[in-house]
């Protein structure tokens, strides 16, 4: 107990130190302790005014001598308030960890909170586990820049829960214990099945975790100016602290707190947006269509496709599909990965082992669906609200991907009441983003650790012969190692393109995990060979297809594109009257294109150009996963697996014999 407290204190101290260090780097004059409050003014000069002025973007592209990147317009946060709010969140969650650590005595406590989470609590925790910073900031950004397509993109993330509700939640509660391996190994040879299930869980969690960690590092750097590496270490230390000491109880409560904060933030901000629109939804949409800035933005977007639109027609186009999602097959492929992958995500499946009954599992999914769906509907208001009040031009001036739209909107909506409220509101939403990152990464670390400690160590290496003390120790040690690996991957992947990793995680879950879960629960003839071939083929197919897809970097393709830019720019230069040079922006583009045009070589798997043209592999890899699972089972029939189907089927439908699953 004492050692635990020392560790908790140490991780708290470390994270405070991380924040303090970051401040010192930014404002060396301030001492360590006052750095918490003093340096707001020192940090400010680099940031230009946050209120967007559309035409300012081009003129500030001069490289500053001290910094490697050009000084861009950025979002100015009040660091004192923001870091103060981060500290409050760290303090509250650390309190939760200390409380949770006292309750975590057995393996069931560590992995499944002893089955003592209620349906309502679990519903909030599922929502907290699921909605990442990408949903919070990314989707509203997409809506603010591309209108309808951003909204359409968000739909699949909710519909995915129908599969969770109808097919997996209750059977998994009734048939499983802590992990995916528990469900799959019921009537198969436990050792190989658990080993493969654990590998697939670790693969999915690693992809997702890497994307989250890199996103976290970049976001923290952008929001409060903490350097990337320090952000990763700070987030990593907190995440390891939550999981190692508090296990599932702490992770659950961190997720519940985060979901509550996220919903309050989204609700409050949408409320302010609706006040401005006079609570008239039709008027709100009319404002979008008639906004000259949005009209101008859309005209430029469609001009790239050779379409000329202007005025109200261009405004109306903002509410129609096709500005962002241009490849329908890719869309359908992503939709399949979402609808089937969510139900195969190990960290989501794991949440159903924390509730006592199938009824509670059912209730938790329904509550989660209302929270998640409600959130995405509010996101529409935020995205369109940002487009109206900040203009797409203002949003892209801060971040070309639109990820800052919600935060900018919060600052402006608050500042319209009083400047300090703008700062407070922005700081609050930054804190929500911070809590969001912590909640999602903790859930992933817990899922990966459970697979390694419970499936591989306890059941494969120790044949299930490990007492409670040893199991809990193994779980904690594994979480520590998994968390440390997560930090290292995050540090190593700073310069990597990780955007496709979230889609890849869903594709692997949909093609590898979900087919074997469904077939295990519902098909009599399913067996060991089916599980292994399904997991292997589904996982390898998704990863393989992504490796040869346009997600990878193809130097020759980049060079070909750059050559075109060089030709166009040189033409432009030649057309200029004598003595004049290209504008600074064009000159920079030309210099960059000239460098890029020299690129040669192949992608990491040795290709000149992508073989598979879609970014999302689901449409091919999901059917492959199902086919491999079915063919594998048919090729190597197993009588024992067939005979045990009655038991699995009765158990998953009725919950009979479940007490064993909880107590064991």
């Amino acid at each position: 107990m004492t050692i635990k407290k020392i560790f908790i204190a140490a991780s708290l101290a470390l994270s405070v130190a991380a924040a303090a260090y970051a401040e010192e780097a930014k404002a060396p004059a301030a001492g360590a302790a006052p750095a918490m409050s003093a340096p707001a003014a020192q940090g400010a000069p680099a940031a230009t005014a946050a209120a967007p002025a559309p035409n300012a973007a081009a003129s500030v592209a001069t490289p500053a001598p001290a910094t490697p990147a050009p000084v861009k317009k950025e979002l100015k946060t009040n660091k004192t308030i923001t870091i103060g709010m981060f500290m409050v969140i760290i303090a509250i969650t650390m309190g939760v960890v200390v409380w949770a650590a006292k309750q975590t005595k057995s393996a069931a406590d560590f992995y499944a909170a002893g089955g003592g989470i209620t349906g309502t609590q679990n519903g909030w925790a599922i929502a907290g586990d699921y909605m990442s910073a990408a949903s919070f900031l990314g989707i509203s950004g997409l809506i603010s820049l591309y209108g309808y397509d951003g909204f359409m993109y968000s739909v699949g993330w909710l519909v995915a829960y129908i599969t969770v509700l109808l097919i997996v939640a209750e059977p998994c509660r009734n048939a499983g214990k802590y992990t995916l391996g528990d469900i799959l190994s019921f009537r198969t040879s436990p050792k190989p099945v658990r080993a493969f299930a654990a590998l697939s869980t670790v693969a999915v969690s690693t992809f997702y975790l890497t994307a989250q960690m890199v996103g976290a590092g970049k976001l923290m750097a952008l929001l409060v100016g903490i350097p990337y590496k320090m952000s990763i270490i700070g987030v990593g230390v907190l995440m390891v602290g939550y999981v190692v000491f508090g296990g599932m109880v702490a992770t659950t409560w961190v997720q519940i707190i985060k979901a509550g904060l996220l919903m309050s933030g989204a609700f409050l901000l949408s409320f302010l947006v609706m006040i401005k629109a006079g609570f008239n939804p039709i008027g709100f949409f009319t404002t979008i269509v008639s906004s000259p800035d949005i009209q101008d933005h859309v005209s430029k977007l469609v001009l790239k496709d050779g379409v000329i639109l202007s005025g109200m027609d261009a405004g109306q186009r903002f509410l129609e599909p096709g500005l962002y999602l241009k490849n329908p097959l890719d869309q359908i492929s992503l939709g399949m990965a979402l609808v089937l992958g969510t139900a195969g995500m190990p960290h989501i499946l794991m949440r159903f082992f924390t509730v006592p009954t199938a009824q509670a599992a059912r209730k938790s999914v329904i509550i989660a669906m209302f929270i998640i769906g409600g959130f995405y509907i509010l996101t529409t208001l935020l995205g369109f609200g940002a487009a109206i009040h900040l203009t797409p031009q203002g949003i892209t001036a801060i971040d070309p991907g639109g990820n800052m739209a919600t935060l900018m909107l919060a600052q402006q909506m608050g500042a319209d009441i009083a400047p300090i409220i703008g700062d407070l509101f922005l700081a609050f939403l930054c804190a929500v983003a911070f809590a969001t990152i912590l909640a999602v990464v903790s859930g992933l670390v817990l899922a990966a650790s459970a697979a390694i400690a419970h499936d591989i160590y306890v059941n494969v290496i120790k044949d299930g012969h490990a007492d409670q003390h040893e199991q809990v120790f193994a779980a904690r040690a594994t979480s520590f190692v998994v968390g440390a690996c997560g930090i290292m991957i995050g540090l190593a992947a700073e310069k990597q393109n990780v955007a496709h990793l979230v889609a890849l995680a869903f594709a692997v879950a949909a093609s590898g995990n979900l087919p074997v879960v469904i077939l295990s629960l519902f098909w009599r003839k399913f067996n060991t060979a089916g599980v292994i071939s399904g997991l292997l083929v589904g996982t390898i197919a998704s990863i393989g297809l992504v490796m040869v897809s346009p997600n990878m970097t193809y130097p020759k393709v980049v060079a070909a594109g750059a050559k075109k830019v060089v030709v166009a720019m040189e033409k432009k230069q030649a057309a200029l009257p004598a003595g004049q040079t290209l504008s600074e922006k064009d000159a920079k583009a030309l210099a960059k294109a000239k460098v890029d045009a020299q690129q040669d070589g192949t992608s990491i798997v040795g290709l000149d150009k992508p073989i598979f043209t879609l970014k999302n592999p689901g449409i091919i890899s999901i059917p492959l996963g199902f086919m491999a699972a079915i063919l594998g089972a048919l090729a190597f029939p197993n009588r024992r697996s067939e005979e045990m189907f009655d038991e699995v089927y009765v158990r998953q439908n009725t919950g009979l014999g479940m007490a064993k699953a909880v107590e064991h």
């Binding site: 739909v155 039709i282 009655d646």
Partner: protein, 103 residues
Amino acid sequence: MAEKQYDWKAIAKNPKFVELHHKKTAFLFGWWIFSCVYYFLLPIGAAYTPGIFKVKIIGVVNFGYIFALSQFFVSWGIALYYSHVANKDFDRLTRELIDELHL
């Protein structure tokens, strides 16, 4: 607690269980397929029949927007309907089965 030994095969043949199993399977897979079809109409429709999506319904609000918004309400509707049927029918059948088996 020493675990009770159940005769799984016998339970699986129990008429109550067979009834539960049939009702549940039809309901779950039926509504699951419905929700998938309804969802995929959105990306497919947006890509191949953009004309319909552009039809204005109320003011500037078009069919595409209403259809996307309806996805949320349809999902919630299915969830609530399932919860209603499960709480009323499936749970009752399960309880009756367990009572009948004197477990």
